[in-house]
Symmetry: C2
Subunit: 197 residues, 2 copies
Amino acid sequence: MATTTETAGSNAQRERRRRILDATIELADSGGFDAVQMRAVADNADVALGTLYRYFPSKIHLLVTALGREFERAEAQSRTRVVPGDTPHERVMHVLGVTTTALQKQPQLTEALTRAFMFADASVADEIHVVGMKLTAMLTHAIDGTDESREPTDEDMAIVRVIGDVWLSALMGWVTGRTQAADVTTSMDVAVRLLLR
Amino acid sequence: MATTTETAGSNAQRERRRRILDATIELADSGGFDAVQMRAVADNADVALGTLYRYFPSKIHLLVTALGREFERAEAQSRTRVVPGDTPHERVMHVLGVTTTALQKQPQLTEALTRAFMFADASVADEIHVVGMKLTAMLTHAIDGTDESREPTDEDMAIVRVIGDVWLSALMGWVTGRTQAADVTTSMDVAVRLLLR
DNA sequence: TCCGAATCTAGAACGTGTTTCAATCATACG
DNA sequence: CGTATGATTGAAACACGTTCTAGATTCGGA
């Protein structure tokens, strides 16, 4: 297997990388996007500012990479369980509900990661793609339910993409303080009802 | 009628405000979000930096207000015409197609305004709301077609909101360079097909 | 017309993302 | 070992959004 970014370099380098991402999450969790200041991340991770920039070329790269790591964790956990619910609608809403509840418990972290995701440009396309794949995997798994053998249809994929778009918009409204947390769930419910009928 | 922000103040003040927004659009059109630098806007509009900040408390307010003015213009024009197409699907796609084509002709401007819209927080809620209403008006008008008497149903409104969310996500992908211009149209077509059936 | 208040101007200054650079340190290779 | 190569450090410097200040200008009301 080709060495990925996570496993490349010496032990000391992998350690530095981990410390940087840990510091990023901790700062984001405590104070949101604005609290993730590059000097503070470098200090908390015990690296020099220049080193931080050698590992992550911008604040956006840093945060989107951290988002990928969190998503990785969430998706791994979700993969181990059967999604409850008798219909695709129920199952999709369950996944979205669980995820949204988790995000609401760490609003500052969610704000930081979502803002970074929204601001990311083409140079972050790879990390963005990772996140998109994980979300797609979770949602198609929910649509198909326990029928492991069923391949997601093109229609399933299209629906999942639209749901993802609505979810991002709803999150955007929430993290920017324009809507309430409950509105996220409402939006998703309406969209899922329109799409899965 | 209550004096709105656009009509308040002396002639000189209305002139200053117009010059500022004109300079904003011009800079955005030529170089996108990054080119809209507050010092440059102030210079091009022949006002002092402090004055610019007296009129618009942040770069985001400035750009979202400019977006509102552009949307106002587009919606006024669209109001004067009958949307061609025999079905809601065709008519909605026509409106989205025309709008998307227009945006693609000014990619830098679109990038600047879309990024500002995405980044706007609660303090810009009023300006955001204006934009949302105009988009909703255009789309419900397209769904209902020539039947002026028909009131948009709750379902219509819900569909329009979902379409707006998908549109924003698609635009986001495009202005950040992660997807091609044609992908915007494709996304919209898929979403509209799923929603208007 | 004159005065006080509001507005405008020019410019300095500050915070944070980003870049740069010389000096030091770590590592691999002869 | 010794050395070359690259990584890391510490610190300065730059860019741009934003804030602040002191003086000039404009405006509305007595």
